[in-house]
């Protein structure tokens, strides 16, 4: 089960299924990629055009003409910093939840989940007023903080599961070897939980990158990320589909890269052979 049972027909079947999945997942995206090189006329041709004479006007039009490229930078800054913060703050907490035992632990743990439950719509206004009173409104910090605290629940919950998978004797060994408890976590356990951390990081990044409401409300015009920019292309003079597509495509690139890089951590069996039993 855990080892790849490489029986021919099954492998073939598996790949078939996966292929279908990839096609389903990818086709709309590819269509958008194509759309980003289409004129409005080509885009709205009554039969879908897969072959057409591409226009390269959309990208410059939106990123230079509409000056959207700084938005991409903003998105990057916001997502990267909030992801980093999330892992930095969330992982240790998760570790404690997985290992330590203190009164009310489980309550606190569940509490983290509850922070995710209220509809953002109605948290947004209070948050706006709160940040205004803090004087942080219209700054990038505001969103970063918002996103971080919002994704913490995800981090804490996901990471706990992964840390719990690691035999505690390994922490103990590290401690015996002279590490502080924190040291053991940072230098031994964290690497062992790499797959979990990787997955979590990817999710944090994506969620932050794509978040709209807080980003829209808390940041000033100059600091607004791409998500906030996209609707700006939906005008009564007609949605600028080519440009929407262009933005969508560009917006996915960083995530694609980030995900692809982080995926290296997604390897199996890190804890094999650690302990007996």
């Amino acid at each position: 089960m855990i080892d790849r049972a490489a029986s021919r027909p099954w492998t073939a079947f598996a790949w078939a299924v996966l292929l279908v999945a990839v096609v389903v997942a990818l086709t709309p995206y590819l269509w958008i990629v194509l759309a980003s090189f289409k004129t409005r006329v080509d885009l709205f041709s009554s039969a879908p055009k897969w072959l057409f004479s591409p226009t390269f006007a959309n990208y410059p039009a939106v990123f230079i003409g509409k000056e959207y490229w700084p938005l991409a930078i903003n998105s990057l800054i916001i997502s990267l910093s909030s992801t980093a913060l999330c892992i930095l703050i969330g992982a240790p907490a998760a570790y404690v939840f997985a290992r330590a035992d203190f009164p009310g632990k489980e309550d606190l743990f569940f509490f983290f989940l509850t922070t995710r439950m209220a509809p953002p719509i109605s948290i947004a206004v209070p948050l706006f007023l709160f940040f205004t009173s803090l004087g942080l409104i219209d700054t990038i910090y505001a969103v970063v903080i918002a996103h971080t605290s919002f994704n913490l629940s995800l981090v804490v919950w996901m990471m706990r599961g992964f840390f719990a998978e690691i035999p505690k004797e390994i922490d103990e060994a590290a401690v015996m070897d002279g590490r502080s408890r924190l040291g053991a976590f940072v230098f031994i356990i964290a690497p062992l939980a790499a797959p979990g951390i990787a997955a979590t990081a990817v999710l944090c990044f994506i969620l932050s990158w794509n978040e709209f409401l807080y980003a829209f409300i808390l940041v000033a015009f100059e600091g607004r990320p791409l998500t906030v920019g996209i609707p700006g292309l939906v005008t009564p003079h007609g949605t600028l589909w080519g440009q929407v597509a262009a933005v969508a495509v560009v917006a996915t690139l960083p995530i694609l890269i980030f995900t692809f890089l982080v995926q290296r951590q997604l390897v199996r069996g890190l804890t094999f052979g650690a302990v007996k039993g």
């Binding site: 997942a25 969330g90 989940l113 439950m117 109605s122 599961g161 990817v202 791409l226 996209i230 995926q263």
Partner: protein
Amino acid sequence: MTSLPVTSNTSGKTRGAFLLDRGVGPLLVLPATILVVIFLVGPFYYMVYTALTDLSFADATRKGAFVGFDNFRRLMRDDPLFWNSFLLTLKFVVVAVAMEFVIGFALALLIFKYVVRQRLLTTLLLIPMMLAPVAVGLIWRLLLQGDFGMVIYYLRAVGLLAQNAAVLSQPDLVFPAIVAIDIWQWTPFVTLVMLAGLMSLPRSPFEAAMMDGAGPLRIFLDVMLPLLRPIIALVLLLRGIDAFKEFDKVFIMTGGGPGTLTELVSIYAYRVNFRNWDLGYGAAVAFMVYLVVLILCSVFYKAVYWSAKPSSGLPAGAKP
């Protein structure tokens, strides 16, 4: 946001507490807790308070006077729209999350078992999740556009859709459509998390099960599922909660229409808060949603996650 009291088995200074060089444990949880408390719980309580007032940004006569439970009374007694959208949302969550989980888990298993170098494949599979919900909404609106939509075109071409029919304006098709699109977007989430979960499973119990004569199915049921249980619970909880808040995609695609066929509770909340600026009532709506989600989750949590709590020190009673 107060969580339901979940009794935990803590007996003074136990191994864990001691191992964490004493006190360090809670200390490490502190930053996260503080952050969350200040920036989420604070606003949340403000919201709860607002729910007891008549605050409105539209009506100059309503400057936030305390009105007790009027808003909730109105919500309970005479707001069919809310309940309508609420039930719709429940339906949406259950169907979507269930499908996402099944498909996503299946894909994760296949990748895990049959794909050696899964890096590129997984990345590609994750693409739908990488698109901003706003973009997803726009994109699918375009793909399903009755006259120029690519998907529509091929649906009609293969005869899955009548020539004079369209998806998003078809009362009987529109809800399935948004569910399908949510599945399209969030199945990768399940895949990713479950894959990571599978990756970190120990090997020996599986070998043991093989020796004990268990076939693939039994092994899956008796060994893999229990070991993955915390992760599974996590996936379902997170997806469930997030699905409950589904907004951008649907709002952009259908605006809740035709009629109120796709008006999810979050869309309703949006109208109340950001269109009518009836914040008092909006807060009440939000709180109601929060309450239900909270109850559902804590029930589920106790049922599934709790009993699979990784560090359950109590011995499980043996069968007679």
